[in-house]
Amino acid sequence: MTEIMRFREEVREWLQAACPVSMRAPMVDERDDVWGGRRGAFASPDQRVWLERMAERGWTAPTWPTQYGGGGLDAARAAVLEEELKRLGCRPALKSLGVWMLGPALLAFGSEEQKREHLPKMARGEIRWCQGYSEPGAGSDLANVQTRAVLDGDEYVVDGQKVWTSHAHVADWIFCLVRTDPSAKKHEGISFLLIDMTSSGVRVKPIKLISGASPFCETFFEGVRVPAKNLVGRPNGGWTVAKAVLEHERALISRMRDARASEDEPLGSMAARYVGREGSGIADPVLRDRIAQADIDALALKLTLRRSAESVEAGRGPGPETSTFKLCATELSKRRLEIAVAIKGFQALGWSGDGYAADEIATTRAWLRSRASSIEGGSSEIQLNIIAKRVLGLPD
């Protein structure tokens, strides 16, 4: 028996014993998500137990070094852990922007002190992080950061505004891009700063979207004093850190979207339910043709993700790029939700109240929400720019 096989057995046995039964049931709604943080509550005692047990082994951040609260696993073992979690149907013990996005960047660019201070709390779910990149004048032009941070003694004084800071109203800390040298070139005067949200002068205002309430906020900084040791990487070197984080974000968005879409009712049966059948097919052949097209595209995207993953695994280069996935996934998701709206017809026009089933309102809100998917995390236009430049090598 190889070491890996032994590890697999160990994992399996441990999971069988450690994962509460209720944490193996399919997730129903967002209350089943555990985000941690000082203000985060557990919806059930089992959620707490499951998180604590996983965190204890460092398996909420399996590949991080153990001294920072991680599991210290190599890629092969981490894959085994993931497979076994999936096999048992275990829910994620912790969802965490910190673990997914900030952590890897800190490991690469952070000081020893920063790693010891922040990584273990992330891995244990004690501190919840949010991201402060976008500003009103910095959408696609992300480097156009106007939020200022001026060094005053051993503290930075931060003034400015961030937008699209997801979950800022429930987060404990924020990682931010701030301008520390206004005279330098756009990308060269930016620093990467960690800010405690409880600092004086931080104000958060939720954003309402066309789809209704949202986790997004505007976050305002007025004379916020931040210890200089919270700067990650070198001063004015924040853009490098930011880009590393962005790569993770893009991959994340297409993965999350894929997971969500798979929970939906297939368009074919939705259409059969709403439009009826005629003979063996949906009664509306033109709609049916559109659905088939969208289903084929969804299948193609799923296969492409797998093809890319296999290619990376085999060390045969990256295959098609992250930008491709983000673009295809969001554009397809918009298209599928437009079809869902077309299928549900008048019943997809409801905002709330009587007369509309829960799944009908959900479809409508999801359709409206989807319009943002091709804007956030790098708009479709930005993805096309990236593909044209980096993949196709077309000139500027």
Binding site: G139, G345, F346, G350, R371
Partner: protein, 377 residues
């Protein structure tokens, strides 16, 4: 028939534009929505529209109307579309009022048309039942009872139903598809009539109507028993054209707001309107809107001229208006970027209105099917 507006038409357009710009900012729609206004439209604005003669614009002068054409009303609806005004004009004048005008008895006309024209009464039309527009699939039925009828069934997407003083209800009086339909004029307070307002994404006034054996006297029939489809066809052709004019205004406004934004929003140190990919998409939208404009204008004029191709043009206009409004609104949101998906900005309201109007009276595919049928293929 000419596409060029006459002096009188220009003047109507100007006064509609002025009224809407001054008295119906989009903030009004927001206020009605956010306060959960029970009426759902501005009574004040409606009064002013009536004073300008808009409420009875296409009704005969003998019944207090202005005796003008659909072309003129189209100008007003287009301006309303630009500010997302969804007052009772469309439903009362083109749907309920349209049916009475076209097929009502003398006494029905005398009773209702002058009040509609003065903006004192609203008459809705209850014709939809399923999840999408399907004119002749009517399950609501009317059974003869004594000297009248007992109507039972359910209707959906009744525009302005909850503020209507009366509703023209389509019910089946004998079996068959297109045949056997009859129109009944049912007063709002009729026993057994239940009207529930629906909260739609675009805050347009839409109601659900349930008829539980509503009694309708024999003189409440609009037109001839069993021949309701003939009336409906003509009423809905006119309403479809009017709705397309409203949609034209909406897409034009969303487009203009987007072009303006492209000129002022800077990214990477330049206005985003200088990026060629966005330029080309904007230019394509311009072309599409111009094509819709021509179809709408031709359909309005064909209705006034009583041409044979009214139905064909109505379907052509609605098919294109539906697709283009949705396309323009989608692009408008995308080109606005992050701010475009916030509730704070108006552009999202156009996205929502686009979807609702797209489905009302038949979506694009429905009208392409009808266009093909009318074209003999």
């Amino acid at each position: 028939m000419s596409f060029v507006l006459t002096e009188d038409q220009e003047s109507i357009r100007r006064s509609a534009k002025k009224l809407v710009e001054e008295r119906a900012p989009i903030a009004q729609l927001r206020a009605l929505r956010d306060t959960n206004d029970p009426l759902g439209y501005s009574r004040d604005l409606w009064k002013q529209m009536a004073e300008l003669g808009f409420a009875g614009m296409t009704l005969p002068e003998t019944y207090g109307g202005a005796g003008l054409g659909l072309t003129e009303l189209g100008l007003v609806l287009e301006e309303c579309g630009r500010r997302l005004v969804a007052g009772p004009l469309f439903a009362s004048l083109l749907l309920g009022g349209g049916a009475i005008d076209l097929a009502g008895s003398e006494s029905q006309k005398e009773h209702w048309l002058p009040r509609i024209a003065r903006g004192e009464a609203i008459v809705a039309l209850a014709h939809e039942e399923g999840r999408r527009h399907s004119l002749y699939e009517v399950a609501a039925h009317a059974a003869p009872v004594g000297d009248g009828w007992a109507i039972s069934g359910e209707k959906t997407m009744v525009v302005d139903g909850h503020v209507a003083d009366a509703i023209v209800v389509v019910a089946r009086t004998s079996s068959g598809g297109r045949d056997g339909l009859t129109l009944f004029l049912v007063p709002r307070d009729a026993h057994g009539l239940d009207v529930q307002r629906r909260a739609t994404i675009d805050s347009r006034n839409i109601a659900f109507v349930r008829l539980g054996g509503v009694h309708a006297a024999s003189d409440s029939v609009v037109g001839i028993v069993g021949r309701g489809a003939d009336v409906l066809d003509r009423v809905l052709d006119r309403a479809t054209i009017g709705l397309s004019a409203e949609m034209l205004g909406g897409m034009q406004e969303a487009f203009e707001q987007t072009i303006a934004y492209l000129k002022v929003r800077n990214q990477f140190g330049v206005p985003i309107g200088s990026f060629q990919a966005l330029k080309h998409r904007a230019a394509q939208l311009f072309c599409e809107i111009e094509l819709v404009r021509s179809l709408v204008a031709a359909a309005l004029r064909a209705a006034d001229a009583g041409s044979d191709d009214v139905a064909l043009l109505a379907s052509a206009a609605k098919a294109r208006a539906s697709d283009v409004f949705v396309h323009v609104a989608n692009e408008a949101v995308q080109m606005h970027g992050g701010i475009g998906v916030t509730d704070e900005l108006d552009i999202g309201l156009f996205l929502k209105r686009a979807r609702v109007t797209e489905m009302m009276l038949g979506a694009a595919a429905h009208h392409r099917d009808r266009f093909a049928r009318l074209s003999g293929y």
